[in-house]
């Protein structure tokens, strides 16, 4: 093997380091944005839940008080219908939260593997004039990144997106 081969192999390994570093930086930004989205969602849903809770508690208490009075109880029906509709859609925050959790887990796992791949490139090569050493290093980094891609879905179960099945009922 020539010195030229060693230089090419070293440049290829450097390119891999650049790609892994850039990808890791972009994923760090994504992780941060996911965390901010989740915080905003939590803040908004906390406010909505407080308002919903206030209305729900009052209607349930009023219904109990109006048990003996059918006419008054009937008046609460339409209010309850509105709260039921709100209830159905307030559940979305919970599902979106689960989706974000699943995405965060995927991003974190990929970042972990990219950092592991970058750590393989840290120690100096003992014989920089030998292309085999650079090739071996590049292969180890690629194996690490590929393993990260293959493991990305493990344990990251977001709610399924099958809208047709949402709200469905099966009695056995």
């Amino acid at each position: 093997m020539s010195t030229r081969d060693a230089t090419d192999a070293a440049q290829a390994a450097d390119l891999l380091v650049t790609v892994a570093t850039t990808l890791n930086e972009r994923l760090a930004v994504t992780a941060d944005e996911l965390a901010r989205s989740q915080a905003l969602l939590r803040e908004a849903s906390d406010e909505l839940m407080t308002a919903f809770r206030g209305a729900a508690d009052r209607i349930v208490a009023a219904q109990r008080g109006a048990d003996a009075d059918a006419a008054r109880a009937a008046e609460y029906g339409p209010v309850l219908d509105h709260l039921y509709r709100a209830c159905q859609h307030l559940q979305s925050h919970d599902l979106v939260n689960q989706l974000i959790d699943a995405q965060k887990m995927r991003v974190d796992k990929m970042r972990e593997k990219l950092l592991q791949a970058l750590s393989l490139a840290a120690p100096p090569v003992s014989r920089p004039d030998q292309p085999e050493q650079w090739i071996e290093r590049s292969r180890a980094m690629l194996d690490c990144i590929v393993a990260g891609i293959q493991q990305i879905d493990q344990d990251a179960h977001g709610p399924l997106g099958d809208k047709q099945r949402q709200g469905s009922v099966d009695l056995f």
């Binding site: 839940m49 349930v60 039921y84 559940q91 399924l160 099966d170």
Partner: protein
């Protein structure tokens, strides 16, 4: 008054289920996961259990199996209320002894219909 145990690790979901059931005149006991649900069910006999599937400590299917081993819960209806909607998961639920499977997000009116039906 019928008593229903609602098991879910999401406080929002528990609150939604409790509101809908209480508005229809049921008494509701809440639990945050399967393990706590099992404790609550053994401490108080309930008429119906509604449980989520994916929860820490003990999942919904394990809770169903554990309850079915108890003499008092051989025939008490148990509903899974979960985001899981695959046929294989439903088959596991059926094999574990669940009475029914509802996919989130639930429609309050449908939930009440199902509850009335299984409590009949």
């Amino acid at each position: 008054m019928k008593t229903i145990l609602a098991v879910d690790d999401s406080a929002t979901m528990r609150e939604m289920v409790t509101f809908v059931l209480e508005s229809a005149g049921y008494r509701v006991i809440e639990a945050e996961d399967g393990a706590q649900g099992l404790d609550r069910a053994t401490a108080t006999n309930v008429d119906l259990v509604i449980t989520d599937q994916n929860m820490p400590n003990m999942d919904g299917l394990t809770l169903v199996r554990s309850l079915r081993e108890l003499r008092d819960y051989k025939s008490v209806p148990i509903l899974l209320l979960t985001t899981e909607s695959s046929d294989s998961m439903k088959a596991q639920g059926r094999a574990a002894g669940a009475t029914g499977w509802l996919v989130k997000p639930f429609d309050p009116a449908t939930l009440l219909e199902v509850v009335q039906k299984v409590l009949r």
